[in-house]
C-alpha cells in the first residue's frame, strides 16, 4: 500500500515543484495601458454585487419593492455621475458606453436639427466612433467639417470660429485624446459655441477623472462618459444632455421609451451602480490621484530622456493628462519593440499592430513623420501603477530599444551622419 502511494506522490511532487519554478521564472506582467481600459476598482465591484442577486429588480417596475429598490439605486448613481461634471441628475442618460453616447450625440442632434442646420464640425483626431458617426451622417447628406490640429495635437480656435456657419448645428471636440492624452481647450470652445448658438458636444471618455469638468462653466451641451475608463465596469456609459437651453436628440435605440425617450432598454442596475460608485470615488480622490500620477509620469519621461537619445514625446507636454505618455523611439519599429517587452502591456501607433497596416491617424494628423509614427509607444499610467512597475518597464523598454537599434540600419545611418530623408527609398 505504502509503495503504491509513494509511486503516486513522487511524480505529483515533481510536477508541483516544476510549476512553482515556472511561476518564479515568469515575471508578473505589468499593465501600462490604462487608456485602453482600467481594472474595475474593488470598491466598485463591492457596490455592484448586491444588484446581481438579492437586489435584482427591474428599475422600471413601478408596482413593487424590487423595482423601487433598483430605481433608487439607479437614481443615486445618476446623481453621482452628474456631480462629477457639474450637471443635474436629470441631464444624465445611461448608455452602453462612450461609443453609444457619441453615436447618440452626433446622430441624435443632427437628425433633430439637420433640416435647418445640416452642418457638423468635428476634429480629425477624434475617436473612431465619432469619425465614423460623422461619415455615416455625410453619406446621408449632412455636411461635415473636420478640423485639423496643430503639431501639439490641439485645435486652432480661430479655425473653429471660421468653420462655424449659420447652418452649423453641432461642434464635437473630444476633451482628452485617447492616444496622445492632450487636453483640448474645452472652456474656450464652449464659449465660442454658445456665442454662435451652436451646440457643443465633447467626448470625455478619457477626460472624466483626469481633468476638472464643469458643464456650466465650460458651456458644454452634451458630454459622453465611459465606465471602464474610470475604474468602473465595461458595458456602461452615459450621455449628458443639457436641459436649459434644452438640447433635443432623436433616439437611436427605440422601444419602451426609457431615459426620457432618448434611449430605450432596461437599465442595467449593477453596471449603473458601478459607474456611479466609480464617479463617487473620483469625486473624493481625483485630486490626490492625479497629483501622484503626474509625478510618476514626469519621473518616467525623465528616466527615458536620461538613458536614450532620439526619443520624442508626441502631443503637447503641458496640456496633457497625468496618465499618458506617447513616445516615439526613433529607429525602432513599434511592433518589434512590443514583442521584446512582452511582459509589459502597452500599445503602439505602429502600422504593424493594426489591421489596416497604416500608422496611427492621430500621430499623422499632428504631422509626425510616418517613420516616427511607426516607432511610437503609448504608456498609460493609472490608479494601481507603482513606481517599481515603472522602473521595471523603463529598464525593459530602454534595453529593448538599445538592442533593436543595434539591429537597425536606420540607427546605423544616423550614427554615420547620413540623413535618412536624403535617401530615395522605394515605397512598397
Amino acid at each position: 500500500m505504502q509503495r503504491v502511494r509513494k509511486r503516486v506522490t513522487l511524480p505529483d511532487k515533481r510536477v508541483s515543484e516544476e510549476a512553482f519554478n515556472m511561476n518564479e521564472l515568469k515575471a508578473k506582467p505589468i499593465y501600462l495601458d490604462y487608456q485602453a481600459t482600467t481594472p474595475t476598482d474593488p470598491r466598485v465591484v463591492e457596490a455592484m454585487l448586491p444588484y446581481f442577486t438579492e437586489k435584482f429588480g427591474n428599475p422600471h417596475s413601478r408596482n413593487h419593492s424590487f423595482g423601487w429598490e433598483a430605481e433608487d439605486a439607479v437614481e443615486i448613481a445618476r446623481g453621482q455621475v452628474a456631480k462629477i461634471i457639474g450637471a443635474s441628475a436629470k441631464e444624465i442618460i445611461f448608455t452602453s458606453g462612450a461609443t453609444e453616447s457619441n453615436n447618440l450625440a452626433l446622430k441624435g442632434v443632427m437628425k433633430f436639427y439637420g433640416k435647418k442646420k445640416p452642418h457638423l464640425i468635428t476634429v480629425v483626431t477624434e475617436h473612431k466612433c465619432v469619425l465614423d458617426s460623422a461619415r455615416h451622417l455625410e453619406q446621408e447628406g449632412y455636411k461635415v467639417t473636420y478640423l485639423g490640429v496643430k503639431d501639439n495635437g490641439l485645435i486652432d480656435l480661430e479655425e473653429l470660429k471660421a468653420a462655424i456657419t449659420d447652418e452649423t448645428a453641432l461642434v464635437s471636440v473630444m476633451g482628452v485624446n485617447n492616444e496622445i492624452g492632450v487636453i483640448q481647450p474645452l472652456k474656450e470652445i464652449g464659449a465660442i459655441c454658445r456665442e454662435r448658438k451652436v451646440f457643443f458636444h465633447t467626448d470625455c471618455a478619457q477626460a472624466v477623472g483626469k481633468i476638472d469638468l464643469d458643464v456650466e462653466d465650460m458651456n458644454i451641451d452634451l458630454m459622453s462618459i465611459s465606465g471602464h475608463k474610470i475604474y468602473g465596469p465595461k458595458g456602461i456609459g452615459a450621455l449628458f444632455v443639457r436641459r436649459r437651453p434644452r438640447v433635443r436628440v432623436i433616439a437611436q435605440i427605440t422601444g419602451g421609451g426609457q431615459e426620457r425617450g432618448m434611449r430605450s432598454g432596461t437599465l442595467p442596475t449593477p453596471l449603473i451602480v458601478g459607474l456611479g460608485k466609480a464617479c463617487d470615488i473620483l469625486s473624493n480622490e481625483m485630486a490626490e490621484e492625479n497629483a501622484r500620477l503626474t509625478e510618476l509620469r514626469d519621473y518616467t519621461l525623465a528616466r527615458f530622456r536620461d538613458r536614450l537619445d532620439d526619443i520624442y514625446l508626441n502631443g503637447d507636454e503641458e496640456a496633457r493628462v497625468c496618465g499618458n505618455l506617447n513616445v516615439s523611439f526613433a529607429y525602432v519599429e513599434g511592433e518589434s519593440l512590443l514583442m521584446d517587452i512582452k511582459n509589459i502591456a502597452v500599445s503602439s501607433g505602429s502600422a504593424c499592430t493594426s489591421a489596416s497596416l497604416e500608422p496611427s491617424y492621430v500621430l499623422r494628423a499632428l504631422g509626425v513623420d510616418e517613420e516616427l509614427a511607426h516607432t511610437s509607444l503609448r504608456i498609460g499610467l493609472g490608479r494601481f501603477t507603482t513606481k517599481e512597475e515603472l522602473d521595471t518597464a523603463v529598464d525593459a523598454i530602454c534595453t529593448a530599444v538599445e538592442r533593436l537599434r543595434e539591429m537597425s540600419p536606420l540607427w546605423e545611418m544616423a550614427q554615420e551622419g547620413i540623413d535618412i530623408k536624403s535617401i530615395e527609398w522605394a515605397e512598397h
Partner: protein
Amino acid sequence: MAYSEKLIDHYENPRNVGSMDKNEMSVGTGLVGAPACGDVMKLQIKVTPEGIIEDAKFKTFGCGSAIASSSLITEWVKGKSLDEAGSIKNSQIAEELALPPVKVHCSILAEDAIKAAISDYKSKNGVADAAE
C-alpha cells in the same frame, strides 16, 4: 498575434546581425524597404572569387517578422552560389516561419534584399547577369 516558435527564436536570437564594409569589392549590399512603410532591410553578402557566399550580415528596422525573415535568409544563403541564393523564394521564408498573411510582405522584402545584394555585387565586379 500568435507567432511560430521559429519566428520568435529568430527574433529573440537573430543570426548574423551586423555590417560589412560596403566599399569592399567582395561585398554586395542590398538596402530595401522604406522608413515610412515601417520596414527597412539591409542585407550584405561576402562572396569568394569562386562565386560562393561565405558570409552574410543584416540589419533590419521593422516588425518581428521582418527581423526574423532577414535573420533566416542570412542563414540560408551562406555557402550557396549566387544563383542558388538568388532563387530563394519569399514563399519558402513565409512557410518556414509560418508568417501570418498580413506579414507575408516581410518575406518579400527579404527576397528583394538578397536579390539587391547579389545584383550590387555583380555590378561592382562586372559579372554579367543572365537574368537581367
